[in-house]
Subunit: 386 residues, 2 copies
Amino acid sequence: MEIAQSLQQIQSSYIREILSAACNKNVISLAGGLPDEQAFPIDLMRPTLTQLAEMPNVFQYGATAGYGPLLDFLQHHFALPDSHKVMMCTGSQQGLDLIARAYINPGDTVVMEAPSYLGAMQVFGLVSANIVTVAQNAHGPDLVQLEQCFEQQSPKMFYAVPDFHNPTGVCWSLETRQQVAALCIKYNVAFIEDAPYRELRFSGNPIPLVSDFCPEHSIVLRSFSKIASPGLRLGAVSGKIAFLDPLIKVKQGADLHSSVPMQALLLGLLQHDNFGLHIDKIRALYKTRYQVLFDALQQQLPVTCGMNSVEGGMFIWVTLPECDTFALAKTLLANGVAVVPSPVFYPEAHPAQAALRLNFTNATAEELQEAVRRLTDVLHNTLAVI
Amino acid sequence: MEIAQSLQQIQSSYIREILSAACNKNVISLAGGLPDEQAFPIDLMRPTLTQLAEMPNVFQYGATAGYGPLLDFLQHHFALPDSHKVMMCTGSQQGLDLIARAYINPGDTVVMEAPSYLGAMQVFGLVSANIVTVAQNAHGPDLVQLEQCFEQQSPKMFYAVPDFHNPTGVCWSLETRQQVAALCIKYNVAFIEDAPYRELRFSGNPIPLVSDFCPEHSIVLRSFSKIASPGLRLGAVSGKIAFLDPLIKVKQGADLHSSVPMQALLLGLLQHDNFGLHIDKIRALYKTRYQVLFDALQQQLPVTCGMNSVEGGMFIWVTLPECDTFALAKTLLANGVAVVPSPVFYPEAHPAQAALRLNFTNATAEELQEAVRRLTDVLHNTLAVI
């Protein structure tokens, strides 16, 4: 049976493939975007896990939009006005998939920064969107390019990760946020704000969502994978009701609804008195690990490489002199360290800045130091011969 | 933001809408396809629910195809050869959605029986398939029509629910199964076998899957919603490896993977010593309820109505003299009984046999008897004036 044309052009996720290779005990993986398993708030989930057995209703079919008590909690928690609503998804990845399926006709233009989140490119690729990119600088997207693109190409939506961008770690400045929002309103472009790392800020001051400046022109995707547990597969999508209802209609066909016991478990966790402390704890842990990775890289990276500091999230983006980054990643894997080469974060055939994405949330401080030794050994050897 | 063209033609699920209306305490609902909440095997899940707190790995990101120990168990449980594999989905509904997205180009022909499962029509509608129907008789699809259709229209797949069909309750005969399999092989049509009700047989003898007769030309969808719990949202898809791999690729974009704690919970349940007894118990319960509904209908239905006995599943299909079944369902709802009118089980603009789908697994015996009184009162009044 021949596969659909829309699927023929989709690459299987290199990251998910390297993740299985990286399971080898001798390999230190900085490749995934995995939170630290030891830091999961399982103790805070334990009371609800036990209570689930006394809640037969959560084992029945549920509403497509989500578990009522959780939706009520989140409506308040996210401070949504009555004109807006929230729905639960099987991970925020599904929220993105629903947005693409509900709104994109083949050939419709979707704008992203380059580089950008691989999972978003997959999802928009599956609906045969015309993906157009704008360059990213230290404050966010290049605003001149963005306005030109909005003006000339009338895109349907602009997808972005303004908080601790995947893969670059860039956090958009307040001014950029305001200006992007203004452009979205001016050109009637829907802003799809993917905010999975927003709560993982470990320094600097919180900045409003871009969507706070264009609430009628945006949809916000939030993940509970980074602050609770990815295994649960729960994310939330919010926006004005007219934007959300079509997503619910697609979700009926996609999976009817997300797991209700998992939603009840998440609600118990979010309402736990110590959940705030848990967030503080993972922020502190990731800050320490980030600092270890950053300091080690700063000391050992070849001078031809570059990187920027980040204030949160999960990744450091190391730029390299021009080279075959796939071959480099393969050599690194053979030398016991897994990383992700930059081209996977660009649309196919798009010229990619030579770079590597390094994760600092999953490996221990000792592993991070060893990983940098292995990484920089290879880099010094490889880049020397370029 | 204008919704995608593929979504514009999709009706929101009438059933899911009537389900919310049916929440009214004064309404007895025979509308949904809900298992009995009291019969959920929560006591058998309790040990695993408690153990989950000691299994941090299930809270981490997992493999797209599913939780390894569960996949191993199911490979053996379903007696799959090495050439075949199984993957877990967020409900078997997602499995169907993945099949449609992985294989159907807009305009590709998909064959179904008429009437057919609403959720399948939604899913194939979302990928703009050309849905072609063949009539169903007491033994399954009309084989002459089916062969004509295969020969003349070269469909890509034939989707069906051979065990206790939704909505008609028909269970395909052994001969029909063998002949459908032979036709699928002869005309190289993939058989998509949706088997959510297969374990709910309460009389007669088990019959092999259609796919047992065409294992290289089929994909099987199984649900754990009817024998375990729908709230978990877990289904399994199996077939030859070449058929399954594209589904896994689409699932990466759709939701990365299904909830791992839920998969671990399901494995614990399936391996529980008393799980077989649980299945026996729900079969006995549903047999009793079916008999109550069937007997009451037989005694009280107007002679102009018809129905067939079933050997399992969840539904009785009551045929009516020609009438406006939507208006009838509305009158019934006003009189305290919720049912589903037949047109929702046909592709739009397809002529529908006037009928009602009645569920017998969710209401108690007393409620079923009262529901039949309300139903037949209205039918005697309404049909008398047609």
